[in-house]
Symmetry: C2
Subunit: 712 residues, 2 copies
């Protein structure tokens, strides 16, 4: 996690000169737009159109080839047809140009032939060390330096407002549409880039660079899916360290995974669960529409970070206070009582028909007694049980609105606690107030709902920063088990239960006492050694669903029952799966009580190993109450994944149940994490299902397990 | 449900003359604002200020008392202090004024004294038949007729745009803030009213009137809670009949209910579950922020109603298509394949790098071949498997944008299928296009997310209309069981299990075979009659949790076991609850297999009787997988409440389980509905828990039950 950050992209976004390869004189065409856009928006560097057809493009001297350009440009734009891109990129590489944006379509998005072409340009880029953006993209905007290197609507209007949001988008058309919406809502930008097919620089690379860029305060990413997903934790770490929130708009979530998975873990997970795990582990904030991107950017730009999730609501409208309290609760914020002392002091100044309890309703009484408000706000800001304050000004307008805004700005300067406002007056009747807030860094939202959601995002990010700081102090369990690796090496079939249990036992996860019997007498002897009653289960890598195969008998109370069960199980299994290789019958202790969970490992091709825990049994698939984390886990991360399960109350003594051994469950998850990392080259999937969590002090026990080797 | 609609409120919103009682000459004060606002916004009727202090207010002759006004006004506004309101309202009543808005605060919102004062004005209003709005409200706006009868920001700016949205809000300050936001986003209004404490006219009354008002197309309601909730179904019915969607912004949802409830049904329900049931039963659409209110109004105003939930997505940006498909799936819309014929025809005209499969990506190729788009759209609109079409135009701008918009408008005129657009160009670069869409009734949304959510709202409403039409053809099960009524009449304590089961058995719900034994020998005889093994359970209205009291023994296989269990149960129960009145011990058949659900009745003071079904056992409280409907239920309503359970797959044969007897479950819910209606004056709560649903053909069986009488 302490790897060095990625490539410095300063000269991509602020190049001193740009070669535009395939530049056209027709500004209606895609290849005609970039030269025009660069000039129109005030690019201060040199533009070198490259096209053997022209002597001049848009007033710039045009060169027959990039080799003819009089200096080495920092950036090349390639606008030729797909088939000619390899040659052009080779020329760019030979000329030593460090950055290149390939706009052309006709690559991996179009099928087999395009994929081959894309592989070819990837190889060329590697050979010459060119950092490529695209292909199949719409270009980038270095907003601060007026570098509009692209085509489409975003490049043909006015210059965007300068600001501190940097954004990367995998969809050019849609991404720039979002940028336009954000701009219209008043946001300013630092950099925007459309990444297309990501043959070279990826979404992750840009997040990484934006985290390093001092002028970026907030990072936005419109993401369909990334090929270097395993880097998300590392890059997210650096963003957290740099105090840069990453706002992720992840789409492409409903596609049905077509990969056949053996384990519940893989079935319940899939790419989206792992993306969500990564985002959660590094406090990346998901946004689900443009307004969330806009609102969250506003609140993060203010720079303040709350110390906790306790919110004081101050309102001049009772209705707004109710709505805000609703939304705060829904978003995981706490609207609790202030200190008794604060309440006393507020009671002395707030009208009787108001409320001095949180949510604090100071009522329209502010019209008659403007000082009352400032006094009340001071008390609230100074209350040690308050981490953030939201102020609802309904549609307050005119002079009193301006006064209130200025007061809030003054107050905000005296405290490190975030102060946010929900305020819905018409722009033209509260222009001065709104301007004061904007200039004073007090974020304003049109509704309490938007305000509460933005505060929740801010609070989540600050919490992730604290959590990450704590996790760095925690040891990570690392285990090396060569025997376990050997069990999987070269295997192509799934491990039978007894093998999978042996595998997890190597990492210290308790399993049922059991013996693999290969004849009736051995089964009886095993049962006698273990103690009646026992369970018998057929063992075969070819029989995944033992119960359905008639391969399980429980509660066998004596030798005779064991003998009969042994024969019956083998007969059923053979009838059910005639060709199955049967290892024998496992004789196991019978375990009672406790809560059945499922735990497992998913070793994803994109993300690497991840650990899962969830509710077991038939309900697992119905309620999908599962929690994933990318490995390795710290203890506090394992604990948070258990606590975020909706079924956690079942473990925590709900309805008079005994408390479960959550510590032992966490130990087991840490063991799975160590296993997942140790076996990341050998293991594809692992289920412990059920994992029985018993009463506190009695530990956990794996009742069944399944493992699938990684097959290369 | 076929009750006559509520009071005609035409003259409230469009009064020929208005008395303003307590009018002040100081337009800075609340009592000074209405006369000023009425005149300023162009009220065409006569204003009669009433105030003994003045001869003239705002240029209007002022009268000492309402009795002195030269005609009977249609509407009186009361702006005096709370204590003087009863006298003023009496004068209004005596003068025969039909409508009165009481702005004054200081009533039920302030405590005991205020509540008494409010009861007093309620009585006066009843006595004189005055329809009162308020008290503690901000007034109303008859937008179409320029009647601005209120105070605050909404009354001091420009006139609102005329339109077809009528809105009622319980919070004046916040509600008018939302109106201002909606207006700024381009919506127009018909009527707006702030209802305050609702001593007379309620939110429900206004929804009812808006459903009758021919100029209202869409109804909005900002609702904290209504006292006449039982009328929601009836009013919702009339709105459905009138093709008027009701957009409900329900707040005040997180308050913890403090009422002690005996049953799980009541614990799992509460007011919010019943509001949601009512909304769902009548297709009222919940909105959760101002943007949803705005977006949904836009889509409903277009007037089209889709015939089903099948959506075709047409995009010029692949990224936008992915996002739209995600959001459609999340919102319950279906993005399926078109007919093979349509796909063939599309394939012939769409570029190879596009997609002729839904979502249909026609690509930026439209720039080169504008006719291609019109051809493709025609094919899609004519496809019989398509109910609605969404078109994503990213940030298309300029002339081509105008052309596309006009094409869409033309196409929309030729079909009854809704056509919606997601389009994010800057206003100033697509002004002509946007105007064409607006004038042509093609709704436009800034993002695919907003577009899909609005279409989902539209589809839900249309589906509710069809469902309601079908339900009207269904018989409703009605039962009258005087014996059951007698069991509850005068009871104050809960019914013990055996009594509650007898109660539900009267309505035909199958219960376990069982006998109440009051001595050991009777228990044995009962067991022999029922057949071993049996279950014994203590019966006492004072012991709600029999298992915890040691009052249950299961799997008793012979007479001796029954004798021992009988003694043990009584001993445990007496030790656990020394003073409990014990009816005896119930000897019951032991039932195996099936799925444990919970079903019940909640007879709510606001809503009346409701029926519930949900997942039983320990998971019920963790996952709150329950479904409520207000009684009476039709068969299709009962079926939909079962199908909407997340655990429905468990009943429907998930994971190789046998299919459960869902028909019998629906029968049981219909029986509970009949019971709930028959006993609505006697019963407070009823749980059937567990209700065992067995394999298809084997019916359901109530294993335990609890009933709490309604105590007056």
């Amino acid at each position: 996690m302490s790897k060095s950050p990625g490539r410095n992209l300063e000269r991509l976004f602020n190049p001193r000169s740009i070669a535009v390869i395939g530049a056209s004189r027709n500004v209606q065409t895609i290849s005609g737009q970039p030269v025009h856009a660069l000039a129109k928006h005030g690019y201060a560097g040199t533009i070198y159109p490259v096209n053997p057809k022209y002597a001049e493009v848009g007033g710039h001297r045009c060169y027959p080839a990039v080799a003819d350009v009089p200096e080495v440009p920092d950036l090349a734009l390639i606008l030729v047809a797909a088939a000619r891109v390899p040659q052009m990129l080779t020329e760019v590489g030979r000329r030593g140009i460090p950055f290149c944006i390939i706009f052309s379509s006709g690559f991996a998005e179009t099928g087999e032939e395009g994929r081959a072409l894309q592989a070819q340009i990837a190889a060329i880029a590697r050979e010459y060390g060119v950092a490529v953006v695209g292909p199949n993209c719409q270009g980038m905007i270095g907003v601060t330096d007026n570098v509009y290197a692209g085509f489409g609507s975003a490049f043909s209007g006015d210059n965007f407002r300068h600001g501190s949001l940097s954004m990367t988008t995998q969809s050019g058309g849609f991404g720039y549409g979002v940028v336009i919406l954000a701009e219209e809502s008043g946001l300013g930008f630092r950099h925007v880039v459309s990444t297309g097919n990501e043959v070279g620089l990826t979404t992750t690379d840009f997040i990484d660079w934006f985290a390093q860029d001092p002028q970026t305060k907030v990072i936005g990413a419109y993401m369909e899916g990334v090929k270097d997903a395993h880097r998300l934790l590392e890059v997210g770490d650096r963003a957290l360290d740099a105090d840069k929130p990453v706002l992720i708009w992840k789409v492409g979530n409903t596609e049905v995974g077509s990969r056949a998975a053996a384990s519940h873990t893989a079935n319940l997970g899939g790419a989206l669960a792992l993306y969500e795990a990564a985002f959660r582990q590094r406090g990346m904030i998901r946004v689900r529409d443009a307004n969330e991107l806009i609102d969250y950017t506003k609140v993060f730009e203010s720079g303040k970070r709350p110390a906790g999730n306790r919110v004081a609501i101050v309102t001049i409208s009772g209705g707004g206070g109710i709505l805000m309290a609703d939304q705060c609760a829904e978003s995981g914020l706490s609207v609790g009582p202030l200190t008794a002392q604060s309440e006393e002091r507020l009671k002395a100044i707030i009208p009787a028909f108001g409320s001095w309890q949180n949510p604090i309703d100071i009522t329209a009484g502010i019209f008659n007694n403007p000082e009352m408000l400032a006094q009340a706000m001071r008390i609230i800001v100074d209350d040690p049980t308050v981490d953030s304050i939201v102020v609802i000004n309904a549609s307050l307008q005119g002079e009193i609105a301006t006064l209130r805004a200025k007061e809030l700005v003054e107050l905000s300067r005296t405290t490190s606690k975030p102060i946010l406002t929900a305020w819905s007056a018409r722009e033209k009747f509260a222009a001065d107030a709104y301007r004061a807030l904007r200039e004073g860094g007090v974020p304003r939202f049109a509704t309490p709902v938007a305000c509460a959601k933005a505060l929740a995002a801010l609070t989540t990010f600050a919490q992730a920063q604290r959590q990450r700081a704590f996790e760095r102090t925690e040891p990570v369990l690392t285990l090396s088990r060569p025997q376990a690796k050997r069990m999987l090496a070269g295997r192509v079939d799934d491990l039978a239960e007894h093998e999978a249990k042996a595998l997890i036992a190597h990492y210290g996860i308790p399993v049922t006492r059991e013996v693999l019997a290969t004849d009736r007498a051995a089964a009886v002897a095993a049962a006698q050694a273990i103690g009646f009653p026992v369970v018998l289960k057929v063992q075969s890598a070819d029989i995944a669903h033992k119960t359905e195969a008639g391969g399980v008998r429980v509660g066998l109370a004596d030798a005779q029952a064991v003998e009969q069960a042994y024969d019956a199980i083998l007969a059923s299994a053979r009838a059910h799966a005639p060709g199955a290789r049967i290892d024998g019958v496992s004789v196991q202790e019978m375990v009672h009580g406790g809560t059945e969970l499922i735990a497992g490992v998913q070793n994803d091709p994109l993300f690497g190993p991840a650990v899962m825990v969830g509710l077991g049994g038939i309900h697992a698939e119905v309620f999908k109450d599962v929690s994933f984390r990318l490995a390795p886990l710290t203890r506090s991360a394992a604990e948070s994944m258990v606590r975020e399960l909706r079924c956690f109350p079942l473990l925590d003594g709900a309805r008079g149940r005994p408390k479960a051994d959550v510590d032992a469950l966490i130990d087991a998850l840490l063991a799975l994490s160590a296993l997942a990392v140790d076996l990341k080259d050998e293991l594809a999937e692992l289920d412990v299902n059920p994992l029985l969590v018993r009463e506190r002090g009695q530990g956990v026990k794996a009742l069944d397990a399944l493992a699938r080797p990684h097959v290369r």
